[in-house]
């Protein structure tokens, strides 16, 4: 679990932390779009430089990021190999008897993997520097135009923020129950697969029971405090879009232009 940091938030006061969450989300989306302009590995260099630059600005220890990206890196390498072996165009680079490796395959695989990796890094940076509440607020705002089409933007955002809010609670709950059952001699890391799956019952049953209880309590608490949907709700946290936010988006576009210039 510790090797997965996507979704974690690390408190801080850097420029990236203080950016408008809407700008961060839009920026991530733009970044994804401009990376599609790259058609060879070299063209991804500006995107990589941009990602490094943004990460350094967050002032989060690099070591922490590297450790947390391990799992993603393994997945990306796997996808790279897969993609490389699937593409059979261009000159043959290495003529293995069963799996000939083509030049086009390496190129295509590298671009694909590079894009995915950079996207994951940026998504991680987003969650590392943005509280879940800010994220859902921003999503609600960005989805607001869709409300006319019948998309319940507020309810979706609320559901999401409640879910996000309770993830750490669920984890600490799980840790507690796990310890309690371990104290009674349960083992979660021994034996055959069947045995391990069976061992989950003493963990999952209390966890589910408590989650239901908690959901009920939350619903009652919300109603008791007069919650009645999005109608007429005002906001406590105001989002402010500054000139610097626009500048960041502009930088993403600039990165896109560099990528375009480096296309092969």
């Amino acid at each position: 679990m510790r090797s997965m940091i996507l979704g974690q938030y690390v408190q801080g006061d850097s420029f990236i932390h203080r950016m408008d969450p809407r700008a961060k989300l839009t920026g991530l989306f733009l970044f994804l779009l401009v990376m599609f302009l790259a058609n060879r590995p070299a063209a991804l260099i500006p995107a990589a430089a941009f990602a490094c630059f943004v990460f350094l600005m967050t002032r989060i220890p690099v070591r922490y990021l590297l450790k947390g990206l391990k799992f993603i890196a393994i997945m990306v390498i796997f996808l790279f190999l897969f993609r490389m072996l699937m593409t059979r165009e261009g000159t043959v680079l290495l003529d293995l008897p069963w799996l000939p490796i083509y030049e086009e395959g390496v190129r295509d695989g590298a671009v694909f993997a590079g894009r995915l990796f950079l996207l994951m890094v940026m998504a991680t940076v987003l969650t590392l520097t943005t509280t879940p509440i800010e994220l859902t607020d921003a999503l609600e705002r960005l989805f607001k135009p869709l409300q006319r089409l019948g998309v319940p933007a507020h309810e979706l955002a609320l559901t999401m923020s409640i879910a996000l809010r309770f993830i750490p609670t669920l984890f600490s709950e799980m840790e507690k129950i796990m310890k309690a059952q371990m104290a009674r001699g349960a083992s979660f890391s021994d034996g055959s697969i069947v045995k391990r799956i069976k061992a989950l019952i003493p963990l999952l049953v209390p966890l589910i029971i408590q989650s239901f209880r908690r959901a009920e309590e939350l619903a009652v608490a919300m109603e008791a405090r007069g919650y009645a949907g999005s109608e007429g709700r005002t906001r406590f946290r105001q989002m402010v879009w500054r000139a610097s936010d626009t500048r960041v988006l502009f930088t993403v576009v600039l990165t896109g232009i560099c990528i375009f210039a480096l296309r092969g």
Binding site: R2, Y64, I177, K179, A183, R184, A186, I201, P202
Partner: protein
């Protein structure tokens, strides 16, 4: 079972930005047959400390010896599985750990895990249910149909059925009314007295409980042990306790008001005993 910690320290999430040093420089020495209390303000590291004693946490500094086993930083939690046989643990709100279809099966969970035979397990379940005062008719019921108090008894029976030598009690009476609290503590007291080698380690905020149900106290503050001794010794320094954001029991406070020299003596720290002691002092200090 002898328990000895030397310079023990533990840091949560070592090597992450969430690193948090919870306890450090802990020295404790607990002989068999002890009644110990660990008291401290919220967040002082009590739970962290006691979770080392059955290998749920492995120290990041120092050493810990439990019986024959010596635990050092870097050891795998897995190899400490056997400690849980001899060191049982009742967590705060233990009723949250119930999961089986029937009370009986839930209590049998620990003995089954520790490899007790079928007959032996049935016997242990019966005895544990009796020890916590659960009616036999409840054994076939679902634990989730019971009242909160009954659920807690089931959970505690589930720990006792593992036949530990040492019992760690992390706020076992949290959320109970005074009567329920006393019944619970009396039950652990009885359990401890059944065998000369049995010990318990009680974690609590409640100074009256610590005074009454422990022979030796460890006072924690900000991850360290700041005072230790018998209740009488510890309560002689209310100022130091206050530094640890704790208070002396009401009985001690009243008697100190009356008799500044501190020459009174209390065993149970309860109202009637305190009244007798006040009467004795007011009569001029002679024996009753």
């Amino acid at each position: 079972m002898q328990i000895k910690a030397q310079n023990l320290g533990f840091t949560y999430g070592e090597g992450t930005p969430f690193e948090k040093k919870a306890v450090s420089g802990i020295d404790v020495d607990i002989p068999p047959g002890s009644r110990i209390a660990v008291v401290g303000h919220t967040g002082s590291g009590k739970s962290t400390l006691v979770q080392h004693l059955n290998g749920l946490l492995v120290p990041t500094e120092g050493t810990l010896t439990v019986g024959e086993t010596t635990i050092r930083p870097g050891m795998k939690q897995k190899v400490l599985h056997h400690l849980r046989r001899t060191v049982g643990m009742v967590f705060q709100y233990p009723e949250h750990q119930l999961f089986e279809e029937t009370v009986e099966k839930d209590i049998a969970f620990a003995p089954n895990n520790f490899g007790a035979g079928e007959k032996e397990t049935a016997e242990r379940v019966r005895r544990a249910a009796e020890a916590v005062g659960l009616d036999e008719s409840l054994l076939s019921r679902s634990p989730f149909e019971l009242s909160g108090g009954q659920m807690r008894r089931v959970a505690i029976a589930g720990v006792l059925a593992g036949h530990p030598d040492v019992l760690i009690l992390d706020e076992p009476a949290a959320g109970l009314d005074p009567k329920g609290r006393r019944a619970m503590m009396e039950m652990f007291s009885r359990w401890q007295q059944e065998q000369p080698f049995r010990s318990y380690i009680l974690v609590t905020h409640h100074m009256e409980d610590a005074a009454k149900y422990a022979d030796y106290l460890y006072v924690m503050n900000a991850g360290s042990i700041v005072m230790e001794g018998t209740p009488a010794e510890v309560f002689q320094s209310p100022a130091r306790l206050k530094e640890a954001r704790l208070d002396v029991p009401a009985a001690v406070r009243i008697l100190t008001e009356i008799d500044g020299s501190g020459s009174f003596s209390l065993n149970t720290y309860e109202a009637d005993e305190t009244a007798d002691e006040i009467a004795r002092i007011l009569r001029g200090g002679g024996p009753l």
